[in-house]
């Protein structure tokens, strides 16, 4: 089936996953601009201004993502995962280092065509409540930044195919409010895929849904990325989700965040429900967990030290937790 010139296999029914798609070859996106990595981050540093001075969030992140590759980023809370993702989308500027997406600065849409930019899936679905599901998916295609321009019939056809891909065929005329949280997140995913990004950026996309829905959505995402050959960077707190979806899992240090270790998940795509609950995934998850825990312990110790310094500085008589009360 044609997908603006790209081949993809429409999704099988939600639970009939695990069969190898004819489009199993993660073929590069069309209009590829180079053979290099789709994302190349080198020594990226960023800070947020606060009343107490600049708060360094990214402390020199290095990351490359190859064409069609899925990388999950995991790390302690507040380590800068979302900041890094927003920097990749051009929503946050880095102070030092370089970030390039397809050889260009993030957010630079000049002269770009289909399959060359980034798509962003937010933690909350953030759908336009005044539009139908189909119009929400068409949003990116209506903008001047999108090339080539599609007429209304093409946009409609494109949106309906994506709805089919994410398992929501027939829901095109529904308002977002009529959909469950999981269904809204599928629309969110379809909207990001509609602009045919070379790389999809996902910020804890399934954190707000229940366990069963989350696992189903993970399979929908894995299948969609695989079918379209789209690279992805997924920020998540869920280690099993990271291992299930990713070709590589990057572990970030405590703030200021940088990538301290990367785990390769050798299992081929598409991955099925058995893998999702199997021992292989559990074993990799355990390794990631131990690395993450060591980062988190450092972060916790660092927080305690900062708190103690603050107490000492303020001259507060409050006893430390590890000191006996007078």
């Amino acid at each position: 089936m044609s997908f603006l010139g790209k081949s993809y296999q429409p999704s099988p029914p939600a639970e009939a996953e695990g069969t190898k798609s004819p489009a199993a070859d993660p073929s590069p996106n069309l209009s590829a601009e180079s053979d290099g990595p789709v994302i190349d981050v080198r020594a990226a540093r960023a800070h947020y201004p606060t009343s107490a001075g600049p708060l360094t969030v990214l402390g020199g992140v290095d990351l490359t993502v190859g064409r069609g590759e899925v990388v999950a980023v995991i790390g302690p809370s507040g380590c800068g995962k979302t900041t890094m993702l927003r920097a990749l989308q051009g929503l946050v500027r880095v102070d030092a280092g370089t970030i390039s997406v397809q050889g260009r600065a993030p957010g630079d849409r000049s002269g770009r065509g289909t399959g060359t930019g980034t798509g962003y899936v937010f933690q909350q679905p953030s759908l336009f409540p005044w539009w139908s599901v189909r119009k929400n998916i068409e949003f990116g295609l209506r903008l001047r930044a999108h090339r080539p321009r599609l007429d209304a019939a093409e946009r409609r056809e494109h949106a309906d195919r994506l709805l089919e891909l994410v398992g929501l065929a027939g829901f095109h005329d529904f308002r977002p409010a009529a959909l469950s949280g999981g269904m809204q997140q599928r629309v969110n995913l379809a909207r990001a895929l509609a602009v045919e990004p070379a790389v999809l950026l996902l910020d804890e996309p399934f954190s707000a849904v229940d366990t069963l829905t989350r696992e189903r959505l993970q399979r929908v995402l894995a299948r969609s990325l695989h079918a379209l050959g789209t690279a992805a960077v997924i920020v998540t707190h869920d280690i099993r989700e990271a291992v299930f979806l990713a070709d590589r899992v990057a572990v970030m240090s405590e703030r200021p965040g940088r990538i301290v270790e990367t785990f390769t998940v050798a299992r081929s795509h598409p991955r099925d429900e058995d893998y999702q609950h199997g021992e292989e995934l559990a074993a990799i998850s355990a390794r990631v967990y131990h690395r993450l825990r060591s980062s988190d312990e450092k972060a916790h110790a660092s927080e305690l030290t900062s708190a103690r310094e603050l107490v000492d500085f303020a001259g507060s008589p409050t006893p430390r937790r590890d000191e006996p009360h007078a």
Binding site: L91, Y120, F122, S126, F128, W130, R175, A177, A178
Partner: protein, 269 residues
């Protein structure tokens, strides 16, 4: 209880509340008013009953004075409201989307909003004369600020909300952000502003007629006061109230439609 029955009773209860209760309340109020007149016999120069008002209204209408008065007032009201809506929405959007504009113009909006229209109406009439232009200007001045303030609040909420990140992430330019996000997101606030503006416009209309006019509902009220025709005063007041009620109902219906369309748990129409 089965869900459908529950839903049915909720739905019929809502229908009674929305369609039956308001007119029933008005009819009961009018009946009590008339009963009080019949029992208490107040000074007819101060208070008359609904029956007398209706009778006088019919006579004025047959005499060919009430119709033109209503027409003149409606023309001035709609012209003033239309200008206030266009200008108010534009200024409100500017204030809501640009912190620089809000910083520069915001204090002026606050200061001018608090000026009572009755204080400046004579100055406007001196400046613009006794014609429609002065009346429409006074209506615009009254209706403009509630629309600006409401639109500004709505636009600021939309711009600070999560959907702004969506338009940025998709690289929407300023015009596209205005077209696809700010304007549709602000529509409920604009409608609320218009609803508030209708009441202020009606007051402004009478205030404008106070300082010289030859036709209009305000003129009917003023001339009734001057000629001790209390019935005429009440006819003018009640007619203005009915116009306000009708316009508010229309805008309220539009607000419910917009809200309903955004929260509908079914297919979009």
């Amino acid at each position: 209880m089965p869900a459908s029955v529950e839903n049915g009773s909720v739905s019929s209860g809502r229908r009674v509340r929305r369609l039956v209760l308001p007119p029933l309340s008005i009819v009961c109020g009018l009946a009590l008013w008339q009963a009080a007149i019949s029992v208490l016999h107040p000074n007819k120069l101060a208070v008359v009953g609904p029956v007398e008002i209706a009778r006088d209204g019919r006579e004025l209408f047959r005499a060919g004075t009430l119709g033109p008065d209503i027409g003149t007032s409606l023309e001035q009201l709609f012209a003033g409201l239309a200008i206030a809506v266009v200008a108010g929405v534009l200024v409100g959007l500017l204030l809501g989307t640009s912190k620089w504009v809000a910083g520069a113009i915001g204090p002026w909006v606050t200061v001018l909003y608090t000026i009572p229209v009755i204080a400046v109406a004579p100055l406007v009439i001196v400046g613009l004369g006794l014609g429609d232009t002065a009346k429409i200007t006074i209506v615009v001045a009254s209706a403009f600020f509630p629309i600006v303030i409401s639109t500004q609040a709505g636009a600021a909420a939309v711009i600070d909300g999560g959907l702004r990140d969506v338009t940025r992430a998709f690289h929407a330019n300023s015009l596209e952000t205005l077209r696809y996000l700010t304007l549709p997101g602000t529509v409920p606030h604009i409608l609320t502003g218009i609803r508030l503006a209708i009441g202020r416009s009606l007051i402004a209309l009478v205030a404008a007629d106070l300082f010289g006019s030859t036709q209009g509902l305000g003129y009917l009220i003023i001339s009734g006061q001057q000629n001790l025709k209390t019935d005429d005063v009440y006819v003018g007041v009640v007619t203005l109230s009915l116009i306000g009620l009708l316009l508010t109902a229309v805008v309220g219906y539009a607000e419910r439609r917009v809200h309903g369309a955004r929260t509908a748990r079914g297919e979009a129409r």
